[in-house]
Symmetry: C2
């Protein structure tokens, strides 16, 4: 791993997206998202995705120019056709009008289809909460997770993010309904390390701790039957409200050539505010249990990581950094 | 355990509530809720609660006459002061106007404070979804759950229920964000049975499998850090939007004499519909994993139980049945 100053990482990634003819204002949105994932220590949602985004633009399954088209199905229900736009560009455009509408109606919802991968959901939640709104964000993905008690994948990793104004920095949580991401299983496989029990099944639906076998199989829902119940609820809800594909029909979040047909739902609320700082501080200052050094508030470890990396630089695999420089036209492919 | 015909159970419970001067239309709502919990195999949310409800009415911390007062904070944001009303009476009244409003705005939300225990959240979710709306229901409760990595209780069991129209019977899931309910721990303690590891901590914050020690301690969030993140998100969201108490301030869901100051939030959506039956059937017909006999859809085991119990009667502890008959004035207290 190398450590690269944040400015250098951003400049090279900017050049790479510009070379793919992404308009500058959309470069900024797409990179804000990918950089935030790197800064907060979620590399699976970071610049690792840059080359795929560029290939998808070149292959015409991502349209870097559009920010989607909006139709108000009802006064507080926005239907968004992403028109194959970049995930964060389409989402930010929808969130902007949702916040505006929620000021009037108190709550507004968007169902988004035909848009590319949203990336780290928590990024949207934190921005909306920083603007003074409460948000619930949901997204679906390709079938990687097995229903509780089944042998094969059928559900997406179906993450949820929640953002809430607190009177200080906003509260933000972001979690997939799978026990881990497929990225983490690939990472173990690449390092020839076993995975913990109960993470995954192999292709035949039997429990495995071999990451290479798990890669061909399915991931467990988090929290057993309850996490499965949440994951399927979010999948059904998003598919209905966004008019998006469901289960094994979903494609285009993991490849370079399929149109992305998953869905996203944002619920934005302009509600009464409350100072939640004292309560959060009460939790932070609790005695930690055996094996823990502190009691954490969700989202805050990522925020601390962000501060460090802005000061010290972003750790990055040499191959990824080389790939980015090639995409930016600063190096020739070997 | 005895098995009592559904009609007999309902008649005795009706008399008990009438004797406490609950108006007949509110008796029906309160009993529909409690009976559904019994029928679906969730006795912790069933008639076990009847005597507490009656004592709370008699003690003036529950007002059986009111259905709460409504203020539209914005066009699609309903503020509800429950005026100490019965949980299901206040909730049903709010849901009725939310559905009406969502037909116009597409989505509407209610924040409810000063209302009594909602009982089984899934009951509301299923009814609203049966009426053709999507619903997310959240409620807070007294601090029984420890933050992940902490030694003491700070969070409520903070359940979520989701209801979604499917083209056939609605989808409904309902889960607390704790690994189990405190009722289940009490149940183990009463039967002198140990609890599984990782369910609970004792009063000193150490892991225990002794149900009697766990009863004095705290319950784990389900799914470790992720379930904790969801639980705290729901607690902050409900407390903000409903203007309700938070954490250890919450009281009145487990005793006879405190005003109930937790909050509830309902989000009701009149969205596009989609036939989800084929997808649900695809999941039901998946090969079960080792140790499972079938792959279940959330909510359906409860529904099957309901059918059986309507036909065969409700299993009930003799003490509870006796208590109900005494409350109904059909038996004298021993």
């Amino acid at each position: 791993m190398m450590t690269i100053p944040v400015g250098d990482v951003r400049n090279v990634a900017t050049l790479a997206l510009q070379k793919a003819s992404v308009p500058m204002e959309h470069v900024i949105e797409q990179l804000d998202l990918l950089m935030e994932a790197e800064l907060r220590g979620v590399p699976s949602h970071g610049l690792l995705r840059l080359s795929r985004i560029i290939r998808r633009v070149r292959n015409g399954v991502a349209d870097a120019k559009t920010s989607g088209s909006h139709t108000w199905r009802a006064e507080a229900f926005l239907e968004v056709d992403g028109e194959r736009g970049l995930g964060p560009v389409v989402a930010n455009s929808a969130l902007k009008v949702l916040m505006e509408r929620a000021k009037k109606t108190g709550i507004a919802v968007a169902g988004i289809r035909n848009s590319n991968h949203l990336g780290m959901l928590g990024w949207y939640a934190e921005r909306v909460a920083t603007s003074g709104f409460t948000i619930i964000a949901l997204s679906t993905s390709e079938a990687l997770v097995h229903p509780w008690g089944a042998r094969k994948a059928m559900l997406g990793t179906n993450p949820i993010a929640v953002g809430i104004p607190t009177g200080g920095l906003p509260f933000m949580m972001d979690a997939a309904t799978s026990v881990v991401s497929m990225g983490e299983i690939h990472d173990h496989a690449n390092r020839n390390e076993p995975i913990p029990p109960h993470w995954a099944l192999d292709a035949q639906g039997n429990p495995t701790t071999d990451a290479k076998e798990a890669r061909k199989g399915s991931i467990a829902p988090f929290g057993q039957a309850k996490g499965y119940a949440l994951g399927i609820a979010f999948e059904l809800l998003v598919s209905s409200l966004a008019g998006a594909a469901i289960g094994r029909e979903v494609s285009g979040t993991l490849d370079d050539t399929s149109v992305c047909n998953k869905g996203d739902v944002f619920i934005v609320i302009d509600g009464p505010h409350r100072d939640l700082q004292a309560y959060l501080q009460e939790i932070r200052s609790m005695d930690p249990a055996d094996g823990f050094s502190e009691v954490l508030i969700p989202g805050e470890r990522g925020r601390a990581c962000r501060e460090r990396r802005i000061a010290e630089g972003v750790p990055m695999a040499e191959e990824l950094w080389t790939e980015m420089q090639i995409l930016a036209g600063l190096k020739n492919a070997a």
